[in-house]
């Protein structure tokens, strides 16, 4: 039984397009297997990018054009090459040993180079189909592949924020000081890797965890849910714009959040702020997401114009 036929049999009446589905599922399984075999390869970016693409392709559903495109069968030789390349990649990481472990997650040049190795776990998937079929896939599922690309590079921004922190931390600290200055007299600023705003009754140190990256990750997860549930009726261009606006809103919201901690903490709520600021921060980010979604949700949807009733 052909692999595609097997998947069609399993999926039954779900009306899932088998051609890209099994390719993406195989790629996802291989990335997961790589990360189990060599935990140093662990990265959420390729995992969630492939998963996002898979789910969005399923949500898009079957394209009749696929029938006429007549995609190739999944050849055994191609699957063998695909698996062999994954095995070589894992073996190379095993051979590298300690240097790979040290480079993984670090912000050095070696760390960035190793990030590239982690993303390379996606590359063997290109061997599964002839180039002609990849072009067909790209033309039929352009928006799904674009969304997966966005997930791959932006969805988990922790490393980007960590590498920018020496500059972004100062920018954030100064901005919070500027916003708090009208409300708190005698506010000082201690310049350091983790800057501190010194007030009359509360000092607030801005740590890496205050960078707002948690808010962006919460936004990413909730926005992904919206996109996944409403994918067929979303205006894709507007959705992309809304994503950019949402991330910017979270970054600005984080400035407002820290400003409110500084202001409230120096006006009699020091105990409350020091006790609840993390959980209050999560709720604050959730509130920003809801405000953002209530303003953009209907705008993101495709407007269906009903035909005027015909005269009798």
């Amino acid at each position: 039984m052909r692999v595609s036929a097997l998947f069609s049999a399993i999926l039954g009446n779900l009306r899932v397009p088998p051609f890209p589905f099994w390719i993406l599922l195989l790629a996802l399984a291989a990335v997961v297997a790589d990360q189990f075999a060599a935990p140093v390869l662990f990265s959420t970016a390729p995992l969630f990018a492939v998963l996002a693409c898979l789910l969005l392709v399923v949500r898009h559903g079957y394209r009749p054009e696929l029938q006429s495109a007549n995609p190739s069968r999944l050849a055994g030789a191609r699957v063998f090459l695909f698996l062999a390349l994954h095995a070589v990649l894992v073996a190379l990481v095993w051979i590298l040993g300690d240097p790979a472990l040290r480079a993984s997650g670090s912000l050095t040049g070696a760390g960035w180079a190793f990030l590239f190795v982690k993303l390379c776990t996606l590359a063997p998937a290109l061997l599964l189909l002839p180039w002609r079929d990849w072009r067909t896939l790209a033309s039929l599922y352009t928006t799904e592949l674009t969304a997966a690309g966005i997930v791959l590079v932006t969805f988990f921004p922790r490393r980007i924020v960590e590498s920018l922190w020496p500059w972004y931390g100062q920018f954030l600290g100064r901005l919070v000081q500027l916003f708090s200055w009208p409300f708190v007299s005698g506010l000082g600023y201690v310049k350091a890797l983790y800057p501190t705003l010194t007030g009359p009754s509360l000092d607030v140190t801005i740590l890496l965890s205050c960078s707002g990256v948690n808010g962006i990750e919460l936004f990413d997860a909730l926005f992904a849910l919206v996109v996944l549930c409403d994918w067929p009726r979303l205006n894709k261009r507007r959705t992309l714009i809304a994503y950019g606006i949402g991330v910017a809103a979270m970054i600005f919201g984080n400035v407002v959040r820290i400003t409110s901690l500084v202001v409230l903490g120096n006006h009699g709520f020091a105990d409350f702020v020091s006790r609840f600021h993390i959980n209050a921060g999560w709720l604050f980010f959730a509130a920003i997401f809801l405000i953002f979604l209530s303003l953009t949700y209907r705008w993101m949807l495709i407007r269906i114009r009903l035909a005027p009733p015909s005269a009798a």
Partner: protein, 68 residues
């Protein structure tokens, strides 16, 4: 309506964790200052935020469908 009540109940379930969190936060110092260094039960905040976000989305989606 039942689903909203359920979400509300789940949020309330999380609240005791929120309230009990951060007992050992830093109580500074010679100058009488406080210093933010909370060790709260972070997962509860994240879970509550996620539930609020999802519940809000469900409300907006239903309202959108009704208006359409």
């Amino acid at each position: 309506m039942k689903k909203f009540v359920l979400v509300g109940a789940l949020t309330l379930l999380v609240t005791p964790y929120l309230a009990s969190a951060g007992e050992d936060h830093d109580k500074d110092d010679k100058k009488g200052h406080r210093h933010v260094n909370a060790t709260e039960f972070v997962g509860a905040g994240l879970a509550a935020a996620a539930m609020i976000g999802v519940a809000g989305y469900i409300v907006l989606r239903r309202r959108g469908i009704r208006q359409d």
